[in-house]
């Protein structure tokens, strides 16, 4: 299983880091990609991840109204909603993509996000492109 997590440098990365420091265990199938802001993420990068065989992708940014870059997390959510629609149209279930907001001290929430995405892949099955590869 391969899950890609695009996480913002401010809240989400700190939460992931804290999860490690706190000794919280989460799946090693997750590959985290650090972004300066969730708003930096484009739909193309999400589609490329799926084309390269990702079973699921999640995006994690700051809490709403608390974005380090003011509204990057809101932009990211809008784009991800659009990307979910594209995935549905393509035939890859849009539920393979999810956007989350969390604060830097919510290490437990980061673990919950990863657990949720792992469970979702188990429910939806692998990305056919990953299986083929």
């Amino acid at each position: 299983m391969r899950i890609i997590g695009y996480i913002c440098d401010h809240a989400a990365y700190s939460a992931a880091d804290l999860a490690g420091q706190s000794g919280l265990r989460y799946s090693s199938d997750v590959v985290l990609i650090r972004l300066p802001c969730a708003g930096r993420l484009d739909i193309i990068q999400v589609l490329k991840a799926f084309r390269d065989g990702a079973d699921a992708v999640f995006v994690a940014g700051c809490l709403e109204k608390n974005c380090h870059h003011v509204y990057g997390n809101i932009e990211a959510r809008k784009r991800m909603e659009q990307a979910k629609g594209i995935l549905d149209a393509i035939g890859l279930n849009g539920k393979r993509l999810e956007m989350f907001n969390l604060a830097s001290n919510q290490d437990f929430k980061f673990k919950e996000i990863v657990d949720m995405m792992v469970k979702r892949v188990e429910e939806l099955g692998r990305n056919p492109l990953a299986v083929r590869a």
């Binding site: 484009d42 739909i43 193309i44 589609l47 594209i86 149209a89 056919p128 492109l129």
Partner: protein, 234 residues
């Protein structure tokens, strides 16, 4: 500017069925402003098509390019190298752009990726509204700078009609009554006297009913000799 929107993704896939070498061609002008066919949208559509192809074994090879203005020959001619070996161009430009590509590359099938809608303007981010009907006989000077041809549902020249209620049109509470807007615009301009001037039946000859319209500026047209001197592209 010309406003259009992308066709649904499934429709794009159906259009491309049976083709293998595909070029997704965008335009950096109007359709980029209305977020339908600029460089970014081309990237998303091309990547979506690649993903769809990989998942469904279509073996599409999808290339992407965006030109400055797809409606002008000079820019479309730059696509010579990029169109080599392609059997379909999915144009994310307006209908004008798609036709320009088709006329310059008659051996390649050009498919419209957008539904071209109207001539309008961005009202706010993500909202685009029709403003001009291109009727060929402008009356904006009489109507406070508001076009009654497209902004009034009935294209009334001497409105408003009885369906104008509280500044809204009877077709929808979201649509402002053009003649209410015209009244207030003329009021601001201190030219309500213009409302007393009856606009006579409009001359529709320069409009769409006479076949494709053509405007020739004789002073700008190049003679064959001038074309040769300037190295103009045919």
């Amino acid at each position: 500017m010309i406003i259009g929107e992308q066709k649904p993704f499934k429709e794009l896939c159906a259009l491309l069925d049976g083709h293998k070498e595909i070029l997704v061609a965008g335009c950096r002008s109007c359709v980029a402003i209305c977020l339908a066919g600029g460089e970014k949208e081309v990237g998303v559509v091309a990547e979506s098509l690649r993903l769809y192809s990989d998942l469904n074994g279509k073996e599409w090879r999808v290339d992407e390019v965006t030109v400055e203005r797809q409606c002008e020959k000079e820019f479309v001619l730059d696509l010579i190298e990029r169109t080599k070996g392609k059997d379909a161009v999915l144009s994310l430009a307006c209908g004008v752009g798609a036709q320009s590509v088709q006329s310059l590359y008659p051996g390649i099938r050009v498919l419209p990726g957008l539904n071209t809608s109207n001539m309008g303007a961005p009202e706010e981010q993500g909202v685009f509204v029709e403003k001009c009907g291109g009727c060929g006989d402008c009356v904006l000077h009489l109507t406070g700078g508001i076009c009654p041809i497209v902004r009034c549902a009935k294209s009334l020249l001497n409105g408003p009609c009885g369906g104008s209620q509280n500044g809204k049109c009877e077709i929808s509470p979201d649509v402002p009554c053009a003649w209410d807007q015209i009244y207030h615009s003329l009021e601001r301009l201190g030219r309500l006297d213009l409302l007393e001037e009856l606009i006579p039946p409009k001359n529709w000859l320069p409009s769409r009913s006479g076949g494709p319209r053509k405007i020739v500026r004789p002073e700008a047209v190049l003679t064959p000799v001038e074309k040769e001197l300037r190295g103009a592209k045919e």
